[in-house]
Symmetry: C2
Subunit: 359 residues, 2 copies
Amino acid sequence: MKIHGVHHRTIWLSDNGWSVRIFDQRQLPWRIEIAELTSVEMAARAIREMWTRGAPLVGATAAYGLCLGLRADASDPALEAHYKALLATRPTAVNLRWALDRMKAAVKPHQGERRVAAAYQCAAAICNEDVDTNRAIGEHGVQLIEALARANPGRTLNILTHCNAGWLATVDYGTALAPIYLAHDRSIPVHVWVDETRPRNQGASLTAFELAQHGVPHTVIADNAGGLLMQQRKVDLCIVGTDRVARNGDVCNKIGTYLKALAARDNGVPFYIGLPLSTFDPSIARGADIPIEERSAEEVTVIYGKSNDGSVAAVRITDSPAANPAFDVTPARLVTGYITEKGVTGTCDVFVPEVRKSG
Amino acid sequence: MKIHGVHHRTIWLSDNGWSVRIFDQRQLPWRIEIAELTSVEMAARAIREMWTRGAPLVGATAAYGLCLGLRADASDPALEAHYKALLATRPTAVNLRWALDRMKAAVKPHQGERRVAAAYQCAAAICNEDVDTNRAIGEHGVQLIEALARANPGRTLNILTHCNAGWLATVDYGTALAPIYLAHDRSIPVHVWVDETRPRNQGASLTAFELAQHGVPHTVIADNAGGLLMQQRKVDLCIVGTDRVARNGDVCNKIGTYLKALAARDNGVPFYIGLPLSTFDPSIARGADIPIEERSAEEVTVIYGKSNDGSVAAVRITDSPAANPAFDVTPARLVTGYITEKGVTGTCDVFVPEVRKSG
């Protein structure tokens, strides 16, 4: 997708052919800063501290992190150590494990230089496939929006999204936002309600930035506002991403998603999940079994933004203790459908064999 | 209630006997600043710009605002003008109109100095009655908490609240928080989950401040987190305040309340409203008919807090457009009960005659 009109992916190799470049997303939307990852430790830190985030992009970054680790030490014990260090960075997203397992399988048969080469090849494949996957998610999802537009001729469609499941959460295009970008490109009048997404404000700082760069009309709202907007019939459709889907279709996603799904059900608003099949985790029976990452209380009590002098600054909103669970679980019963690269389905059951095969 | 151990009300006459003092709540919790209101215009501004807020306290402030206006001009046309100016400050809370109507009825029979005296007398009565009312709400509500404590011996009860319906929202004691303060005073182990309450963060800055001053254990959470906590059985009870209750029991309260009520229902958590009967509005048939105040987008995009140097500073979180509806409506079907000064009831029907009488 584009920044100031120039196409970018969110992760790419630098000119030296081995170090990895990403956007330091903590600086967005105020500063477009590129970080150069040169070691597995740095890649792990970039994931843990959320320089980079979003389930698919975390997987891609971990894949390249393993490349960097193997470049320093390609031995079998080192491979295991790199794998473990990267896997430990974020406990909730399953794409992280999916990408690392795929990388391990690809490099295992090789040693030394050939192992390193196989790693870079596999990481590049993971990235390219993510782009293809997201384009396919967009193609399937845009049909839902086209159907809505046909049913509501002559008016703008209002789509609500939570957190950031756009191109900044993936290698390119995005998952939940891919259908929206395609709809906009096809001149369907869409307007996006962007949940701020406390505590880290990925909606206000990343989704709004993406949509603005692409020219998609949008309005930032407090996370509290979505229920009222649905009561007032100002939301036609919700689309969100996910970090892991359990075998029964329960959806683990950014904290607060569940509340929007409840409101959507209460008001008859369709609630869709945009996701690559790699996000299904058939090894987990139900959402309640997914580990929920508890992050630092400071993410709740300290907020970053642009200060009056234009610099990025922090303000503390309370001295009281705070809790910061990062994800919640939306029960499958509240999900209208799953938009995947293979099509849209009302139940994830049909995809379980696919996942088993690719997993 | 106490600040640094010293008892305070939220509104009182200054030593000159006519000007009115309030806390400038926009400065809390970082600075305890007292504002002196000397004119009806200043009182209207204090309500509109939320130096003071909370449905009961807005009513009390408007009452004293009318006193200040009559002190300058006690004529009939001036009375009407003051009434209108104060009524226009906030469209959603019904206590504002209730207090102003009561004031008008009290001063109407008098002229000149006697009208002014009658006004001050009525405003003082409104304040004193608010204190008595809230103490009674606390007494009735604490019985619910005592029953929960008996059913769960030996463990701390977790109560979730949204926005601020504590003593800072009233003249003293609070509505939704009154039962919690009483429970704590009676050595029932309670812990409060405090919704941050974006966009203005009244939970993080006011409720957390109140609870800390009173020594009640509490944890601030993002508004998004309550659903997960209920899924995890970490919430025993929700209590919130309200700005207006319709004839059918629909509850208008701070934006986001509806989402918590949905989650409470989905997880079998009791959801109570703490309110004075003056908050019932029998003239409104249902919640959807209550006017929803739309406030400035800046309240969403600019966040205030303590900066590194200790001063109160603002940061901007996005340059995108934002929307800021301030209230939503929780349908009566999601409300377990209403805690009022007359007792706890599962339906508001029984109170309508009371309201008609007192209205």
